[in-house]
Subunit: 566 residues, 2 copies
């Protein structure tokens, strides 16, 4: 577990005095949000999220932030403050909390519920998970922490205000402006304006949707769409969305109540989150409405609604398994209606498309954004909503977060039109140190942050060397050359053997591999004295075969010579 | 070259009399369009396109249609008729034409130009590439072939009418309705209506954009966008689009003329297509406007426009190389403007996003659809355009093509609203045989079609076994176990050796691999008599290690035991 703590130094840091702000994750790749605030002997962390692998991270399950910088500073960490209950803001906790010295966690009610489930699953103690309210004021070392409510796609989302003697910072993670949200939780513009009036030096702000002009429409539009689809449905209705979207789940449930359908929650994340949200009072569910998955076969299709996990087409998810006729309780039939109430993110587009195709082929009526309006609303502020928030806070400096560089750039364009100067909008990378002192914000060198990969049980044991090998093998395959050598005579014993995987179909390419064997033998014969210099021999075989195979096939498999001394 | 001709039988085909229509490619995966029309002793092929690999086709460069069905029917092929000049309709020709018995090719002017370039590069004779006009009528065996003009994103696009004594078919590949196309080439509604009046039994029709309601806007809107961007540009202007989009290239050139910028075409496909289109009279370019890439360094940035390949962020493309500071002639500077005038398809989204991010970080002003309106217009008919076309032709039966299943389904919904019955709209797969006889259309079994992969120089030598191995290795890596065995005593000589790639970082996992070695040794000791039964021994080692590694790491690497007899 301790591998990600391999010590690595800070780079080019002049240690300017003041409040040091370091994004350890959340910039450039959107997810695994984690921001560090350091002032003298006190550190407060805001969020501790999970990331999801991109296409180059072959075989990787998850990515977590790199907390090497904190290795020798655990005793300074006064707490982890959580902005809201999404996995890219809380999902890193079970992996990192112990390594951070088990600091206290402060979160609003729903997030505490979700975190407790994660800690239970990871066998971690839950005594340091503290529930806070919107009016809570925390004094964490040199930091006075306040909260205000914002609308977002999960209840109990907040902005965080950090006050120190070096200045005041507003940390506005994911939010939007929705005057009729399903949860009823409005962005508290009055309270935001109050903090703005107090004078804010720096605002970190969610820029994910800054490319989108105008305003998002309200979540309210979605329930009528669900109702219309339900009315047309002949079979069962399946609604899929992200499992933390409690408001969307409530809307689906409302439609089930109106139409007299029973509801089953399908998929582990969906069942877990539903349970927590219901227990904590975030869902309005009449008794008798919910049935367990085992019961659904006894309910007529036209009296059944499934709220099912797998909106992005994730291969192992409940909906994907159902579509492949591989789910214990759920089968998709030709007259079923399947509603995708979530838009894919770029890396999941193909998987969602393929799943929609599969469901269409079964004959289900599939509803998705390309075809049907008002099926999904983003949880992130579009341009005009960003302008409203920035105008309320009126910070001296702005730092867009939770976004790719192009989105941060679009955000900068927006606020520069509002009168901010380019140099007052900081476009930084993960690891970039930002210092606030005396009302002035500047960058100050960087902390090295890598991706820490989770692959199966391993945390941090898969690095760039392993990923590079996977990349080569995935595209070109591998060729093994086994050379048995007599250790006394330095001569080859018998024939070199060649085995390949993922390169060519061996049965159809015998001649090619035979030629390669002869090439290896000839190459070794050229340097009889050097055979026992393994490093030379390996390198020589690699060179000879790489050239041969490239000439013959225009492919560059990974060549792996193994010399067996006998 | 002949591997894709491994004989495979037809399946479940009752050989109904009539005109047999078989899609060999173009349905489900959109690209590699190839449709076969067979009547008695005559076969006409419409289009012969390339496909592009999806994420599961690791390391594959291109995909071509499977023409096994034609192996014993080459002498019946009367010709290949080309609908338009896009690679997914002509790109398969250099790979397949010889194997099809070198039949004559019939194409409109621009397509003949593009095909000739491909044949030159592949060292193929060009004598059988025949240029036809819109008024040409071909008699190919039992088929009378006519053409009509349609608007699309490449000039000289056509619909094809096939008349036989079994019935009349309209083959409407990619098209749209645009009353002000840049090329001036309108969809010839009068001529389409004429064929409709003659009575059409079956229409194959481009359904790619059937999910989109309404009409596409006209291509004309794009030039003013380019003009506006050019006016704001301080540095050079780079415009990227698909290299066959001659109309878009013309619009970029028009803006260069208006603003006094010189133009360089960058990227091989861009340079080739530009040359052909210009030579054939499809581009209006004043002398002295174009400079060669070598010259651009002598021209001030604010007097320069580059029309550059790589709009989808393809890794080896000119724009991608320029963004990575790896292009011989092109460097991106902070004040340059880069315009993406092409929207990514699902499998290229991430690559385009990453490229935009990279360009933004350099400081370039990047323009793309999420941020700027009127940068790209689709070449495919939206719902209302489809309705117009279908109303003109009024076929008895419809068969959507060039689309995924969900899009075909959306197309069926559209025409069923217009009065067609569900059973009059055929939703088929590649390989599905469709028979037209006596005014009736029905399906009739299927021909087996696989993907034929092109990987480097190999055509068809990478199959599913190789891809499956690549998949496993890409996600979990490979573990080699080398077991030296004395062939006389059947005993292990020395220690089994374990080498891995893409699994764990070996230096950090010595203990794990040592344990695995001991496990192999113990497993072999359990069955001393069976060691020389290689099959058993290999299987036994695989089992033992798979279980061990899964327990320790929750990963399932490819285990490859190699027994070296000495």
């Amino acid at each position: 577990m301790d591998k990600q703590f391999k010590p690595r130094g800070e780079q080019n840091i002049s240690n300017l005095p003041g409040l040091r702000i370091i994004p350890l994750g959340g910039i450039g790749d959107v997810t695994k949000n984690m921001y560090l605030y350091e002032l003298g002997n006190d550190i407060v962390i805001v969020d501790c999220g999970l990331g999801f692998p991109d296409e180059a991270m072959l075989g990787i399950d998850l990515v977590i932030p790199d907390v090497s910088y904190l290795e020798n500073k655990k005793d300074k960490i006064r707490g982890i403050v959580i902005t809201h209950a999404h996995d890219d803001h809380i999902g890193g906790l079970p992996y990192l909390w112990q390594n951070l010295g088990e600091p206290p966690i402060y979160a609003q009610k729903l997030a505490t519920g979700f975190i407790k489930v994660k800690f239970t699953e990871a066998n971690l103690p839950k005594g340091k998970i503290n529930m806070v309210g919107l009016d809570t004021e925390l004094q964490l070392g040199a930091f006075k922490i306040s909260f205000y409510q914002v609308s977002h796609s999960v209840p109990d989302s907040t902005g965080v205000v950090l006050e120190t003697n070096a200045g005041r910072v507003v940390h506005q993670a994911d939010f939007k402006i929705d005057w009729t949200p399903v949860s009823g939780q409005l962005t508290d513009v009055g309270r935001v304006a109050y903090f703005g009036d107090c004078g804010v030096d720096l605002m970190l702000i969610d820029a994910l949707r800054s490319e989108r002009s105008g305003y998002n429409i309200s979540e309210k539009v979605i329930q009528p769409t669900f109702e219309k689809i339900e009315k047309e449905a002949e079979g069962k209705v399946l609604i899929t969305t992200t499992s933390s979207n409690i408001g969307r789940i409530q809307q689906a449930i409302n439609v089930a109540i109106l139409s007299g359908r029973k509801v089953a929650m399908i998929g582990r994340s969906m069942e877990n989150n539903f349970q927590v949200a219901r227990d904590l009072g975030y869902l309005d569910v009449p008794p008798g409405l919910i049935v367990i998955p085992e019961e659904i076969k006894r309910i007529p299709d036209n009296k059944l609604m499934l709220i099912i996990a797998g909106a992005f087409g994730q291969p192992g998810s409940a909906l994907s398994r159902a579509a492949n006729n591989d789910h214990r309780f759920v089968t998709i039939k030709p007259k079923d209606s399947v509603v995708f109430s979530a838009d894919p993110i770029p890396s999941t587009e193909s998987a969602q498309h393929a799943l929609i195709d599969k469901l269409s082929k079964i004959g289900a009526n599939v509803y998705y954004t390309a075809l049907t309006d008002a099926l999904h609303v983003s949880g992130h502020a579009a341009a005009e909503e960003l302008k409203l928030m920035v105008n309320l806070v009126r910070p001296k400096y702005l730092l867009p977060i939770g976004a790719t560089f192009r989105q941060m750039r679009a955000f900068a364009d927006i606020v520069c039109e509002m009168g901010w100067k380019r140099e007052e909008v900081l476009l930084v990378d993960d690891g970039q140190v930002v210092v606030l002192n005396n009302g002035k914000v500047q960058t100050d060198g960087r902390v090295e942050v890598r991706n820490v990969y989770i692959d199966g049980l391993g945390i941090g044991d898969v690095g760039n060397v392993v990923l590079r090998d996977r990349q080569v093998m995935s595209e070109e395959g591998i060729v093994l050359v086994i050379v048995p050598v007599d250790s006394r005579t330095s001569q080859i014993v018998g024939e070199p053997d060649i085995v390949s995987r993922g390169f060519v179909f061996e049965k159809a390419s015998e001649e090619l591999l035979d030629q390669a064997k002869r090439g290896v033998k000839a190459a070794l014969a050229d340097h009889p004295d050097a055979i026992l210099d393994w490093r030379f021999t390996r390198h020589h075989i690699e060179e000879v075969l790489q050239e041969f195979f490239y000439k013959e096939t225009k492919r560059r498999p990974l060549i792996l010579p193994v010399i067996v001394e006998v």
